[in-house]
């Protein structure tokens, strides 16, 4: 069984890897590239813990084959902060205690960032529906929604 050779860009860096045809992008990120920030909560696209963007589009990396990333731009939670500068969403998640166990947090951050890039001023309703594919079992979502609202406000002001 020969492996697929893939050249892609992850968080802005050119990356090459070999993967099995049936291997998912999530497995590649976690097991081959050591990017364990993306989590597997279900493996069926129901929890959003593995959220990444593929050419700017929010997807579950458990439902993308590693081979499909050829020539694409992949962005993961590891690429959200710029060096030692946290993204406003990351800061607001901490400040608002929007995480308890933190395992869903990478997925929420990637998804929230994708939302704010598309809609800088989302309503609570829009945030809740955009994030419906990200499950959190600890917080009841209240503080997560508040953190996103607050980050959006800060980002609009600094624009």
């Amino acid at each position: 069984m020969s492996k697929v050779h893939v050249s892609t860009t992850i968080n802005g860096d050119a990356v090459e890897y070999l993967c099995a045809a049936e291997e998912t992008l999530l497995d590649v990120l976690r097991d081959r590239l050591g990017l364990t920030g993306s989590k597997e909560g279900c493996g069926t696209g129901d929890c959003g813990a593995c959220s990444v963007t593929l050419d700017g589009r929010l997807v579950c990396s458990c439902l993308v084959l590693g081979a499909e990333a050829e020539g694409r731009q992949v962005r993961t939670v590891e690429g959200i902060a710029k060096g030692d500068q946290l993204h406003p969403l990351q800061r607001k998640f901490i400040e608002h205690a929007a995480l308890q166990c933190g395992v869903c947090t990478p997925g929420f951050l990637v998804a929230s960032k994708a939302l704010l890039e598309k809609n800088p001023n989302p309503t609570e309703h829009e945030i809740r529906f955009w994030l419906a594919g990200n499950l959190c079992r600890c917080t009841g979502y209240d503080k997560i929604v508040r953190a996103v609202v607050s980050a959006a406000a800060e980002m609009r002001e600094s624009r």
């Binding site: 099995a20 049936e22 976690r30 097991d31 990017l35 364990t36 920030g37 993306s38 989590k39 597997e40 909560g41 279900c42 493996g43 069926t44 129901d46 929890c47 813990a49 993961t76 939670v77 590891e78 959200i80 902060a81 946290l86 969403l89 990351q90 998640f93 901490i94 400040e95 608002h96 205690a97 995480l99 308890q100 166990c101 933190g102 395992v103 869903c104 947090t105 990478p106 951050l109 609570e124 309703h125 945030i127 809740r128 529906f129 994030l131 419906a132 594919g133 990200n134 499950l135 959190c136 079992r137 600890c138 917080t139 009841g140 979502y141 209240d142 503080k143 997560i144 929604v145 508040r146």
Partner: protein
């Protein structure tokens, strides 16, 4: 440890909301959870699970699988010695012996060079099953003639002990007074039977571990667990290892809620690693989590409550039947003890039946047992209020337990906050807000014991005056922030100067599991004591430097100072000043505490819930929700609120849409997040919280555990709201739309 100052205390840091110390790790992807660790030469472990609900295992043939290139080890029941005593059932749950007792029960495991090979190997293992009749429903399992799971299970707690085995493991009874007399005095009696389905804790991180056992028999285990010391002790027993030879490190944990208080894959990974001589990682799939970890009980609950016309309750009686899965030990005892714990009753009784069925062995789930019995009791209270024509909050206030009440489970309550939460509910704008069409409001109260337990911490003063605090209770919801706050409060230094870590089992003494809402209470108490121990030593060093008696030194705002003019006139020494010269004054300075923390204060919560029902489809939406709970003292209010909100939402899910669905074949039909429907962000409103603080006399800062009580009232709060909106009493949860629509259709038109 008693409350420092019963007259009220003021804090410098406790009660503030600083950023958590592990925050950055968790927002950048740097935090390492169970599945995030790897080791050189690591193998992939996978389990073969029974597809049958109940089957005798005649034989297991592993020859072909073992011959597959890339397969390094296979373990079955033959690799686990027979164990008697406490751990027998744990051992049999980890790996089936003579029988597979539920769909998903582990029967073999493979370690191979990669996932594909492991998967292929599992298919090559031939298990010869003799399929047996099964039972998954609690009432069915109690009937004479039901398929019996264990031929050596004889009901305990009944007189005389039966001669025939059955699925009824135990009868519990709690209460006092004379319920028959109480009902005779009642003007109004409400009697109802309720049913609740099994739910899962639904932590987002599946169970995962990485085991490595060397040829010298020394083992290392990296695992997501609520209690790594317990994992160590249990695994060592199951594998016949010395406890000292197994070092367990707790990874970051992606949710537990009680579900990660026991072992499933950990002993298997260790056994595979020992056999293969290489590290083995096992990560459960979500399907395995649902089929083969520890969901909670399904149950039937019968409740009868009688009251005078003025609302005074004269008697309460309940019979609870909880299935605990394939082995004895459902939390029905705690369900029975807590059923009426919110009320001041002269005549009360609760009987609980612990029943085994062909389902995975239940594990603790947030206030185990209590939400189910509270569901029945609080719904009957609601109906009683309607019958008497009394406001449901008033009825609760009239009968609420208070200091001096003989609790329904025995002990007399000390200072408790129940009335304060009910009064706060009554005064809350939510309770007075008008309702829209098709909306209904529900109220319910809840109780939980809260626990203490064995705790050990070590507080080390670093050379620059910062502090390293090592605790042994995994941080499941931000507890490190609370520990930093308490240590800094005691030492009089900044929050940022304390760093709390969760130490491995070889670096710190034994700690009980992070369960029972005990961490902030017990580890907090130990942290305070360790800090006080360190302060004593710091004062001693200062005394030495000043050449005065240690008794003449006091600690204030992070500085050693002479206690008074008689002690001498020395400029204060800061913690950093003393730390800097520690080598010259006697060596390292550290504070320690080893304690079995007692004195946990019970906690109460009152919830308000508004729902709106679509009368044509039964679709139900929670439109407003308020949690009011006694925290004793909130150390980090943000994380206290988080516990209130999270528990409430788990309860909302339980009430509306979450359930284990078994088919006629005894197999679980919905082992995934698609059809096991936990609440998503768009299902919910903001969850309002009110933190009530009635100090616990058994803790220096007055705190009470807050982790569990919040899941106790929601089942009934939502049921009462739905019943009000639908104008028909709902007695089964989850109240999924088909059930609501059916009930509305069958209800007499009003």
């Amino acid at each position: 440890m008693p409350l420092d100052n019963p007259k009220g205390q003021s804090f410098r840091l406790v009660g503030s909301r600083p950023n958590r110390p592990d925050g950055i790790d968790k927002v950048t992807g740097r935090a390492k959870f169970g599945a995030d660790m790897s080791a050189p030469g690591m193998l992939v472990g996978r389990l073969l699970r029974s597809p049958h609900a109940h089957a005798r295992i005649r034989s297991i043939d592993i020859k072909k699988a073992l011959a597959l290139p890339g397969v390094k080890a296979i373990v079955t029941r033959d690799d686990f010695k027979e164990i008697e005593g406490d751990l027998r059932d744990v051992s049999r749950n980890v790996m089936a012996r003579d029988k597979a007792l539920y769909d998903g029960h582990a029967v073999a495991a493979v370690a191979a060079i990669d996932t594909a090979t492991a998967r292929k190997a599992l298919k090559l293992i031939k298990v010869d099953y003799e399929i047996l009749p099964h039972v998954t429903d609690v009432e069915e399992a109690m009937k004479p003639g039901a398929p019996v799971l264990h031929s050596d299970l004889f009901t305990q707690g009944v007189e005389p002990t039966p001669k025939k085995p059955s699925n009824i493991a135990k009868r519990h009874e709690f209460g006092h007074g004379d319920v028959a007399k109480g009902f005779a005095e009642a003007d109004v009696v409400v009697e109802r039977k309720f049913k609740s389905e099994a739910t899962h804790q639904g932590y987002i991180e599946p169970h995962a571990c990485l085991a490595s056992v060397g040829n010298d028999g020394q083992g290392e285990l990296w695992v997501c667990t609520q209690g790594h010391y317990a994992v160590r002790n249990v695994c060592a027993s199951l594998l016949g290892m010395d406890v000292s030879k197994l070092r367990v490190t707790a990874s970051e944990i992606g949710g537990g809620f009680g579900g990660k208080t026991t072992v499933f894959i950990e002993p298997v990974a260790l056994a595979l690693s020992r056999k293969a001589g290489k590290p083995v990682k096992i990560v459960m799939s979500r399907e395995e989590v649902f089929r083969a970890s520890g969901p909670t009980s399904s149950a039937t609950v019968w409740v009868k409550i009688g009251a005078k016309k003025d609302g005074r309750i004269t008697a309460g009686d309940a019979v609870l039947k909880y299935q605990g899965g394939a082995f004895p030990g459902s939390p029905v005892d705690m369900g029975a003890m807590s059923a009426f714990a919110c009320y001041d009753l002269e005549n009360v009784r609760a009987v609980g039946w612990d029943v085994v069925v062909n389902r995975p062995k239940q594990a603790a789930y947030r206030a185990p047992g209590a939400p189910i019995s509270a569901f029945g009791v609080e719904c009957v209270i609601d109906e009683l209020a309607q019958k008497i024509g009394m406001d449901p909050v008033e009825l609760r206030l009239k009968n609420a337990a208070r200091e001096g009440t003989e609790s329904s489970y025995g002990p007399t309550y000390g200072v408790i906050g129940l009335r304060a939460t009910i009064e706060a509910a009554k005064a809350h704008p939510h309770y007075k807000a008008p309702l829209g069409p098709n909306q209904g409001r529900g109220v319910a109260t809840g109780f939980w014991f809260n626990f203490g337990g064995q705790t050990c911490v070590s507080l080390n003063i670093n050379i620059d005056g910062t502090v390293a605090l090592a605790v042994g209770t995994p941080d499941i919801g931000g507890s490190r922030a609370s520990m930093c706050l308490m240590a800094a409060e005691e030492l009089g230094i900044g929050y940022e100067q304390v760093r709390t870590i969760v130490a491995d089992t070889s670096s710190l003494g034994y700690n009980d599991i992070s369960e029972g809402s005990r961490v902030t209470f017990s580890t907090g108490m130990a942290t305070i004591q360790a800090a006080r121990d360190a302060v004593k030593k710091l004062c001693g060093r200062a005394a030495q430097m000043w050449g005065i008696s240690p008794d003449a030194v006091l600690w204030e705002n992070g500085h050693a100072k002479p206690a008074g003019a008689n002690a001498g006139d020395f400029p204060p020494l800061s913690l950093a000043d003393i730390a800097k010269v520690a080598a010259n004054t006697g060596g390292p300075i550290a504070g320690h505490c080893e304690v079995n923390a007692e004195g946990a204060g019970v906690s109460f919560s009152t919830h308000l819930c508004d729902v709106e029902i679509d009368p044509e489809t039964g679709f139900t939406r929670v439109v407003r929700y308020t949690v009011i709970q006694d925290a004793g003292k909130a150390i980090h209010p943000s994380y206290v609120e988080g516990q209130y909100q999270g528990g409430a939402v788990q309860g909302i899910g339980w009430a509306l849409n979450e359930e284990y669905i078994y088919g006629a074949d005894g197999r679980l039909q919905n082992p995934g997040f698609l059809d096991y429907r936990i609440p998503v962000a768009s299902d919910l409103p903001m969850i309002d919280t009110v933190i009530v603080e009635v100090p616990n006399p058994g803790h220096p800062y007055g705190l009470r555990g807050v982790g569990e009580t919040s899941i106790v009232p929601p089942l009934a709060a939502v049921a009462n709201a739905v019943s009000a909106a639908a104008k028909v009493r709902m007695m089964e949860i989850p109240m999924s739309p088909p059930k609501i629509l059916k009930a509305m259709g069958e209800a007499p038109r009003r």
